[in-house]
Symmetry: C2
Subunit: 238 residues, 2 copies
DNA sequence: CGATTCATTGATCGAGATCAAAATTGGTGG
DNA sequence: CCACCAATTTTGATCTCGATCAATGAATCG
């Protein structure tokens, strides 16, 4: 639960004991291996999850086998608050790396946030953030070129990891294959490879085994028309 | 407020008097002319809105002037539940046609849903629906061709209008210019025109002044790989 | 009715897909 | 530690969908 605390409490007035009601509630810890399916389409969702370690992704698969990743889920991200409605999952979630999750039964989660308004606001804020990230994903897919999409995604991931204390400056661990990036950005793996090479050639990023370093954040942001305000990294309690 | 009631109560156990708490709260009615700006980027959101008549759209504009529409807002849609967090708007909302809105101050809205758990669930359900529509929009942009995107959007709009009682069978009023459709689907207006012609030529749709008729829903759905489950038109209360 | 906005059609161009092969990486067991 | 196999990445060549530019044709509205 640490990254969630880091994320929510970094910008709000939530005190440590606001999380007491969460920790008192029966929180169960589960773990999934890299590549494992966490949620399948059609599942009845009974729990609310928080990623505490590792990466996962939410996606839909079309009948013709194409896949589109809807959201990359990093430590500190919660899902599915949608579980509060009793409706079957319309998308699947798979683990990218080994993933540690904290989960809580729907009813327990509801009790926890009912008991603590500030906590409720904290989760609501996380959900507003997530929805805004979805919207920017739409803009990225609809109105940016391949190179721009990639640059934009890298900057977003850098910021999101930074928010939960998982970036060493401009270098971030990216456990993503070209194919995962392609299915995120609506491109082919080949084109992702070429776009990466292009950013490298421009001296904007450096890539190593499974991490990338952003060499020129300003230029990269300019290229991607990246405006971080959609991440709502500052929150003011209402 | 009628379309919202139609939408929420059609599939839930909400009784008419569940809405009493809403109608008791100070609901203000406002109207915007076609083309008017309803929310600007950076605005502090103080109200929660429900569209009661007309169409609006949510969008972001890039620095280079390109526009991407994030969501088309039809009668019965609510926004911005995000207003419950005190953060500036990250996107703009404009009226397409003349638009009638019902709005409520944040605090009044919170009181209303706190007073009535079933009402809260109803709004939560609407918000789950909306988020799911955003996700499918992502899939549409990322993994479908122009023709498929158009077909998919038409089917979605038909269903959504149907849910609030605004479709006459397979014929729907579409107050959208080619440019609005283009900015929704991440295409150029020219290509939207050609794709429309193509669907017409295939005998799948018929178009007149400002409405379209879906002639072969099955074939259109097959072409678009349209699977309506993401619309969650059935809700079961938790 | 003109005038302005919007839709269609034609011609050309380019970003990104696809197909195929080569190069790299990583994991495994001897 | 090295050799081998599988998976991933890169690179090259070609093709296609959709963008762009430009002109014509309809609609809508004072």
């Amino acid at each position: 639960m640490q990254p969630l605390i880091a994320r929510i409490s970094a910008y709000s007035d939530l005190a440590a004991d606001d999380f007491a009601s969460l920790n008192n509630a029966p929180v169960e810890r589960v773990q999934h291996k890299a590549g494992a399916k966490i949620i399948a389409v059609g599942d009845q969702l009974t729990h609310v999850f928080v990623v505490s370690r590792g990466w996962a992704f939410r996606y839909r698969t079309l009948q013709d086998g194409q896949r589109q990743i809807v959201n990359l889920m990093l430590p500190g991200d919660c899902f599915d608050l949608q579980a509060l409605i009793d409706t079957p999952a319309d998308h699947a979630v798979d683990a990218i790396t080994s993933v540690h999750l904290s989960r809580m039964r729907r009813a327990d989660f509801l009790n926890a946030i009912r008991a603590n308004g500030r906590l409720a606001t904290g989760f609501w804020w996380a959900s507003v953030q997530e929805e805004s990230i979805l919207r920017e994903h739409i803009v990225r897919l609809g109105r940016r070129s391949g190179k721009e999409r990639l640059a934009h995604l890298l900057l977003e991931l850098q910021r999101r990891l930074h928010m939960v204390g998982l970036s060493n400056g401009d270098t971030i661990d990216l456990p993503l294959t070209r194919e995962l990036v392609a299915d995120t950005l609506g491109l082919s793996p080949v084109h992702v490879s070429r776009s990466t090479a292009e950013l490298r050639r421009l001296g904007l990023i450096r890539t190593s085994a499974s991490s990338i370093q952003i060499l020129q954040p300003k230029k990269l942001a300019e290229l991607a028309q990246f405006d971080a305000s959609y991440l709502h990294s500052r929150m003011r309690l209402a």
